[in-house]
Symmetry: C2
Subunit: 414 residues, 2 copies
C-alpha cells in the first residue's frame, strides 16, 4: 500500500493564528483513495527547513504533497527548495509565463514583475495548472517517489488537488479504481450505527465503510475499489442500497447535503411552508434554515420568543400555561408550535424550548432539557430530550434534532 | 533566542477528521513568551515515528513539546517512545500511581488495571501533574534541551501548559517577562487600523503590536517585554492607553470579549431591553445575542420575518411601503425597527434587511446590499452597507455590524 506525507509551508501556520486545515482536507481525500497519510510536517518559509522536511517525508512515504510557498513574493521559497532537493536548476517555462500573464490580461492589468518568478520550475518537473490563481503547482517523479507542490490558498489547493492530483493518484493506487459514496445520517449515535452495520465495517472488507460524526450528524463513506470503473460503481451502488435498507430513515441524504437543505428541498417540492418559534436555541434553527439560498420559498415566519412575555404576546401562548408548567415544558412547547402554526398559517410549525445553561437549571429541570414540538393540520407531536455538553452544543443539537423531526414528518407527506 | 518544536501524536490527526488545534494553541502561547515555534510534526501512534520526530525536533529546536499518546491503552506510545529516545527504562513511580488511583477513588470506582501503565515514566525524567485527567505529563532535561510530553485532550493540555510548562519557560526566556494585552476592535478594516497605528506596529518596537482579523472583528495584541513584571505591565498599560486614544470607539473590549457580550453587559448594566427583527440574517443576530448565557435579562423579542407577509402581519410594516420601496430598502428597515420597538416595548430595536445572495439580486440591488436600522425612544437611524464575499460572510458581517451599531448607540446612554 502506498503511503503519503504532507508538508505545510508557511510562517503563518507557526504563530498560533490558524489551524492547518489544508492538511486535514488532503489527508481525508487521500484516505478515501486508500492512501494513508503517515506524517504532516509544518515548516516556516525557509529553504533549509523545507528541504529537510522534503527529505524526511521522502523517507517516510511514497507520495509527498506540499502546500504553500508558491506565491510571487520573497518569502515564497518552495520552488528553490524543490530545486535544491532535486539538485536541479530553476528553468523559465514560457508557456507558464504566458498563462500567468493571461491571468492578469483577463483582469485588464499588467502582470507585476514579481509574478514572473512563478513561471520558473525545477528542470525535469512538470507544472500543474492553477485555474484560480497565478501560482502553478509542480509535479516531480524522482527516485520512485511522486512529489506534488500545491498553493497554500485553500480554494486553489482544493481545486488543484481535485482536478490534477487525485486523478493521478487514483491511477497510482495499484491499478485500483476507487468509487466513493457518502451517506448522511441523523437520529442515532455513532456506536448505534456501527452496531447496526456490524461486519460491514470490517477493515478488510471491500467496499470499506468509514464513519465520521460531527454534532450528531453522521457521514458514512462507502469506499469501493475495483479493477475498472464500472465494477467500482456497481460495488458502491450495491452497498449504498444495503446500507439504506439497514439504516432506514436514519439516512437523510448523500454527498455534501445538510439536514437544512434536505428539509428545504422537500418543503419546496411539496409546496409546503414552515414557521418556527424558538426559545433556548435563540434563532439558531432559523439561521440553519436560512443558510440555504432560496429558503424564502418555504420559510415564512420565525419567532425568537426568549422572554415569557414574548411567548404570550407574540405567539399567544396562554400565560396560565407558563405559570402552571413553566416555560420549559412539553405543554408550552406544544402551545408554541400550535400558536406559531395558527398565526403564520404555515403548513408546519416547529417550536423549541429548553435550558441551554449554564445558568437556569433547577432540580427537576437540568441543563440540556429540551422540548421540541411539531404541529401540522394533521397532528401535533412533542418530544423531550436531554442533550449533553456545553451551551453551544446543546443549542446546536436541539436545532439539528428539530430539523430531523421535521424531516421525518415530511416523509409522511406525499 | 530559544526556539521550540511541537510534535502532535495521534492517528486521529492523520485521517482527515480534525485540525490540530493543540499546536495552534501552544504556538500562540510560546510566541507570547518570545519563543518562536520552528516546526510542527504530526505523527501516528507508532514508536518508530514518534522517536524519529523527537530526534528531528531536537535538531531543530531547544524546547520540544509533544501532545497525545499518554493515555492508558495499547496505542498510547509516547512513554515508551521517550524512553527509547532517552535510552532509559520506564520506571514505576509510586507517588504517581497513588495520584492516578486517587483520581478514580474520588469517583468511587476502582482503577482499571490499564491505567497503572500511566504511572511509568522514563528514568531521569519528572512527572507533570494533570489536574483534569489520569495522564501525567513528562518533563526531561537532556543534552541541553527541554522536553515536555503533554496529554492530547485539549482541556488537559491547556491546563498543564498554563500551570506547569509556561511558568518554567518564562524563566527560560532569557530573563524577559512578557505582558500581553488584547484589544478587540470593530468598525474599520485591518489596513485602516494599521494606518492609524503607523510606526507603532514596527517589528522592532517594544511593546510589539500584532493584529489579527476574523469576519471584520479585529484583535490587537500588545506584547510588552521587560526585565521585571512591574515594568512589563507598565509598558503594556501605557500602550493600551495610547492605542485606545488613537482608535477611540473602534475599541469595544479586551481579552476574549465578543461584541455580543459587550453589548449584552451594557444592556444589563443600564437595565435596557432589546428586540430585533431580521430578514436576510435569518436569526443569526438573535443566535449571536443568545449565545451569551443570561441574555434573557435584556433580549426579549426576536422576529425572523423572512417573508413579506410576516413583515406585514407580525411586525406591522405597511404593505404599501414594501410595495413602493421593496423589502430591501432603508424605508422598510426603518419600519421594521420602529414596529419591533413598538410591539415589544423594548428600549432598543434593531432591524436588518438585505440580499445575502447568491439568488435575489437586481440591477439596482446587488448581492451584499444590507440595511440596518436601530430605533429607540430618542431616535431612529438607518444605514446602508454593501458587504462582499459569500452568503455566509455577508450574513455574519451584517449581524456583527448591527451589534456594533447598537454598541455605539449604547455609548450615548448613561
Amino acid at each position: 500500500m502506498k503511503k503519503a506525507s504532507i508538508i505545510s509551508i508557511g510562517n503563518e501556520l507557526l504563530i498560533g493564528k490558524m489551524a492547518d486545515t489544508n492538511a486535514v482536507h488532503i489527508s481525508g481525500k487521500l484516505l478515501s483513495l486508500n492512501i494513508p497519510v503517515v506524517s504532516i510536517h509544518t515548516v516556516p518559509d525557509e529553504i533549509v527547513s523545507i528541504v529537510r522536511a522534503i527529505k524526511l517525508a521522502a523517507e517516510e512515504a511514497d507520495i509527498i504533497l506540499t502546500t504553500g510557498g508558491l506565491g510571487p513574493t520573497d518569502d515564497d521559497l518552495t520552488r528553490p527548495a524543490f530545486a535544491k532537493f532535486l539538485n536541479a536548476e530553476l528553468v523559465l517555462q514560457n508557456d507558464l509565463l504566458q498563462k500567468i500573464k493571461g491571468f492578469f490580461t483577463k483582469r485588464n492589468v499588467p502582470m507585476p514583475e514579481n509574478n514572473k518568478i512563478q513561471a520558473y520550475i525545477p528542470a525535469g518537473t512538470k507544472a500543474i495548472t492553477n485555474n484560480l490563481g497565478t501560482a502553478p503547482g509542480i509535479m516531480a517523479d524522482f527516485n520512485g517517489k511522486l512529489f506534488f507542490a500545491m498553493p497554500g490558498v485553500p480554494a486553489e489547493m482544493k481545486k488543484m488537488l481535485e482536478e490534477s492530483v487525485l486523478p493521478l493518484l487514483e491511477k497510482f493506487a495499484e491499478g485500483q479504481i476507487i468509487e466513493i459514496r457518502k451517506l448522511k445520517c441523523f437520529g442515532a449515535g455513532e456506536s448505534t450505527v456501527a452496531e447496526m452495520l456490524g461486519n460491514l465495517m470490517q477493515r478488510s472488507r471491500n467496499p470499506l465503510i468509514n464513519c465520521t460524526v460531527e454534532y450528531g450528524d453522521i457521514t458514512l463513506y462507502i469506499v469501493a475499489s475495483a479493477k475498472d470503473k464500472e465494477r467500482a460503481i456497481k460495488l458502491a451502488h450495491q452497498d449504498e442500497k444495503l446500507l439504506r435498507s439497514i439504516l432506514g430513515d436514519l439516512v437523510y441524504g448523500t454527498g455534501e447535503q445538510t439536514l437544512a437543505e434536505v428539509v428545504g428541498e422537500r418543503l419546496a417540492l411539496y409546496q409546503k411552508t414552515l414557521a418556527i418559534a424558538e426559545s433556548c436555541t435563540g434563532g439558531m434553527l432559523a439561521e440553519l434554515l436560512t443558510d440555504v439560498s432560496g429558503a424564502s420559498r418555504y420559510f415564512t415566519h420565525g419567532w425568537v420568543t426568549y422572554s415569557n412575555e414574548a411567548k404570550i404576546t407574540e405567539l399567544g401562548v396562554p400565560a396560565a400555561l407558563i405559570e402552571k408548567y413553566g416555560a420549559v415544558s412539553s405543554q408550552v412547547a406544544e402551545a408554541m408550535a400550535k400558536c406559531a402554526g395558527e398565526r403564520s398559517k404555515a403548513d408546519f410549525a416547529v417550536a423549541i424550548t429548553g435550558i441551554a445553561g449554564p445558568t437556569g437549571p433547577t432540580e427537576q429541570k437540568p441543563v440540556g432539557l429540551v422540548y421540541i414540538s411539531i404541529s401540522s393540520q394533521m397532528e401535533c407531536e412533542t418530544k423531550q430530550f436531554i442533550f449533553a455538553h456545553d451551551r453551544k452544543l446543546i443549542r446546536l443539537r436541539a436545532a439539528l434534532t428539530a430539523l430531523n423531526i421535521l424531516r421525518l414528518h415530511l416523509l409522511k407527506v406525499d
